[in-house]
């Protein structure tokens, strides 16, 4: 039954081959001046990936009747009742989801959409690499403000204190970087003024010391009257610089 459940969940998790196929499709799109980009190729590839997953749905659903029979038999014994009840609930949930997904072209909303999974996973890989390249002291952590987390907080030296946001090069729009940089500065300023330690997720005492040594606005004034300040920058990356890598 656990194997069935794993197979059911696996349908929603885009496998690596699917990811690489979507990658190649997306990065293969040419944007020529005066012509509409050929995103139909991406749509077609997404439909193929969805189609393969739909075939798997039928296979997984076909195994259910036999599993239900086994469930019933095992559940007759008192000692198994609770465990089987929990399993049954989970299988009911998965069965419901799979049946909804079985519609032609699927119902791939939200996190189930393979293209979205692809974009999220690749985006995460790109961010992880940038975090290593820029040696972020604090990388993608919540705690500075509600409803957001800056990509990277780093102190490189005297007055060299930054909050970075990582974005694909052709990204276009507005962003909360100004909010983040203020929240980061306010956070470490408050700790400096009150002589408190940040949480370990946000760098702890060591990082607070680094901030106070390098990022103060008026270092000659008493700490309780001073503030710290960060600059901010977008670091952009080429969406398709290196092919999506399957985790080992």
């Amino acid at each position: 039954m656990n194997a069935w459940e794993a197979d059911a969940r696996g349908i929603y998790t885009l496998d690596c081959v699917g990811m690489q196929e979507l990658w190649d499709a997306w990065c293969g799109v040419e944007f020529e001046a005066h012509e509409a980009p050929e995103v139909s190729i991406v749509e077609q590839k997404t439909a193929e990936v969805i189609g393969r997953s739909e075939q798997k749905i039928d296979t997984v659903l076909a195994r259910l009747p036999a599993l239900r029979a086994t469930q019933q038999k095992l559940g007759a014994k008192a000692k198994n009742r609770d465990a089987i009840a929990a399993l049954r609930d989970e299988m009911d949930k998965q069965e419901g989801r799979l049946k909804r997904l079985k519609k032609k072209n699927g119902d791939w909303h939200g996190n189930n959409n393979p293209a979205l999974q692809f974009a999220k996973t690749f985006g995460q890989q790109a961010h992880d690499k940038l975090a290593r390249d820029f040696r972020c002291n604090v990388y993608d952590k919540p705690g500075y403000l509600s409803g957001g987390r800056p990509d990277c907080v780093v102190v490189n030296g005297k007055h060299d204190c930054w909050v970075y946001e990582f974005k694909p090069k052709d990204w276009n729009g507005t962003d909360r970087l100004a909010d983040y940089v203020k929240a980061v500065a306010d956070y470490y300023t408050a700790r400096m003024q009150r002589d408190e330690e940040p949480s370990s997720d946000l760098g702890g005492r060591a990082f607070q010391n680094l901030v106070e040594a390098n990022c103060r606005v008026s270092p000659d004034s008493p700490k309780k009257n001073d503030t710290v300040k960060f600059s901010h920058r977008y670091e952009t990356y080429e969406r398709c610089a290196s092919r999506y890598q399957c985790p080992e």
Binding site: W171, L177, R233
Partner: protein
């Protein structure tokens, strides 16, 4: 909010910015007046209905972009209000614009920038402003907005390296960022000098706008981080140095500057 415009056109460009002491939302007619000046730039899809809806004083800012995310030819932002009460270490509200020079000529851009300066000086609480040329849209956007952007893994453009060494933007509450080909001194900074002093230091034209002063440091809009510009503006840089950001690159007393 910050704005990012994707691939900035790799074409010679111009940029301008204005720093304000109070958010533009406190003088809403000024916001519309600023945008009215942009009508002369003539791009399609410019619709007043959308602009008026966007200039709602509850909004943080209005952003302008002409082109595609793969190549942006004009970008700008008018900040209307602020999410938090502005403090002494917050950057002052600003408006900025960058446009590539083949589609929008130097004369057009400079004319628009001067109009912005006059509106800001007469209808807003203005601090300062600048107008300049840049090698490309990326440099123009970064200099005008102070929103640094860089492509990870690529060597920084020398101008970006210099810009990132600028002191924090909150100095603009009290100081002049630097001398630009067209420079606006709001009342507080204008009180530090006179039109006569500016002319004596080499300003080519000085105009009083209310309590503000607008002056031309060069005949044309030029790039502002190279040797010819430093040579042309040495006396002006010396004059404003005590009340400027004092970027080391601008220090006229440094050898060769």
């Amino acid at each position: 909010m910050n704005t990012v415009g994707g691939h900035w056109a790799n074409l010679p460009s111009h940029g301008c910015f204005v720093y304000l002491a109070r958010p533009l939302g406190e003088t809403p007619k000024a916001g519309r007046a600023l945008v009215e000046q942009m009508c002369d730039l003539q791009w399609s899809k410019f619709a007043w209905k959308k602009i008026d809806a966007a200039l709602d004083t509850r909004r943080l800012s209005v952003t302008f972009l002409v082109g595609e995310p793969s190549e942006v030819h004009l970008g700008g932002r008018i900040a209307i209000t602020n999410r938090w009460e502005l403090g002494p270490t917050d950057d002052p509200p600003s408006i900025w614009l960058a446009a590539e020079a083949s589609r929008w000529s130097e004369a057009q851009f400079a004319g628009l920038a001067r109009s912005w300066f006059r509106i800001a000086a007469t209808q807003c609480h203005v601090l300062s402003g600048g107008v300049f040329a840049a090698a490309n849209m990326h440099n123009a956007k970064v200099e005008a907005s102070r929103e640094y952007e860089a492509l990870a893994g690529e060597a920084r453009h020398p101008v970006q390296v210099l810009l990132e060494k600028e002191p924090f933007g909150f100095y603009a509450w009290e100081k002049l960022r630097r001398v630009y080909p067209i420079t606006l001194l709001g009342p507080k900074l204008a009180a530090r000098t006179t039109a006569e002093e500016l002319r004596a230091a080499g300003a080519l034209a000085v105009e009083s706008v209310g309590d503000a002063l607008m002056f031309d440091a060069t005949e044309r809009l030029v790039e502002v981080w190279n040797r010819p510009y430093l040579d042309a503006t040495k006396q002006l840089r010396e004059l404003v140095w005590p009340w400027s950001f004092q970027h080391p690159h601008d220090d006229a007393k440094r050898r060769g500057r």
